[in-house]
Amino acid sequence: MDLTLHVWRQKGPKDKGRLTTYKATDISSDMSFLEMLDVVNEGLIKQGIEPIAFDHDCREGICGTCSQVINGDPHGPQARTTVCQLHMRQFKDGDEIYIEPWRSRAFPVIRDLVVDRSAMDRLMQAGGFVSVKTGGVPDANTILIPKDDAETAMDAAECIGCGACVAACPNGSAMLFVASKVGQLAKLPQGRAEAARRVCTMTDAMLEEGFGNCSNHYDCEAACPKGISVKFIAQLNREYFMALPKGHKEKN
């Protein structure tokens, strides 16, 4: 099939950037979206044009690196699917496709479709962990965890940290990402101990990194390639409320 692509080209963080139109011809419907871009890039290189820069790594939907807003939809039209797992059969011959980077103050564009997502790492450093003393491996099942709790924690742990929730949110909020970490760790006995401090430091870090505030629009859940539920945002709010009496007393 033949497609018309409108791709965001931006030379660097300081460049203003603009949409540029390219033709993608003889695309097979079995190709993945990234393979289609590889083909387009080969054509551009032959013509002596800089190829389109885009992020990718695992190409199997687990690393969270591929980050493109396709026709206004982070990770494209197929629900619960990363860009690398999106196939061209989702499009039809003659389609016009708009490709833009994640847009957020916290994710400055490095080049074309590549953004700097280290703000997400700093959110994790602010509290997305459990402080344990390492030592010998403990025996299995020494800490019993109810099955429901284990499953809920696993649902939250599906998050791959891709940032599509931020890209989709009308407010550029990272609430779903942070809520998945807060929700996952608070459900497990190992993480429960630091739950109050974690919810405070992580929500503070969100504001410092320049993410917006959650207004309960739920575009994040619809865009999330792992289908993380906004019920974890309700849980984050609940955790924050419960942390009010203690929270920052334990800081540091």
């Binding site: 103050r105 916290a106 009308p170 407010n171 984050l236 924050y240």
Partner: protein
Amino acid sequence: MPLKHVIRSAVGRKLFMAATGIILFGFVVAHLLGNLSIYLGPEGINAYARQLHQLGPILWIFRLGLIGAAALHVLFGITLTLESRRARPVAYIRKKHLRSTLAGRTMIYSGLILATFIVFHLLHFTFRAIGPQIEMLDGGVVNVYRMIVDSFRQVGYALAYVVAMVVLFFHISHGFASLFQTMGMNNEVTLPWMGRMSRIIAVILAAGYVSIPALIFLGLVIK
């Protein structure tokens, strides 16, 4: 946790939005129930108005509480919205709204229109600085029934109130559902029907309010 910190936090301020939202919502419900006494005729609403004013100092405590809640709600509503605007300096050229609603995305506009309406409404019926000539009853009390009916016979007043209540519908249709999420009361059972319930409640409230100016203007039921 120090209050200062809660107020700086985005989640903390949302808790204030929710708490003040509950107070304002409670007022909207109570005010509607009071207003519906107009369907009992002049005796009904005039008796309601007299009773309300006999509360004296208690009425003032309620009023001050409401003013405080409204002020915090407006202040945090504006700061939260401005911060969120700053979070996306370069807009998308194409953007789909996957789940969010128009009502949700325009909370600041519906809110600011409501704030303007509240000032107008107080000038109209509380301070009586605007509106038609007031008629006094025996004992120096205002004939509230006549005041309302005379106002809503005029197309301008009737229309202003109807429009404001449609805006209220938009604000509550997102706000009511939003409350439960902010207060952390949602889970996989409540989430699927929360949005619909919120719209139903907003329709009921708005319809209740709209009925009064609409019926009076059309010369039906309330004459």
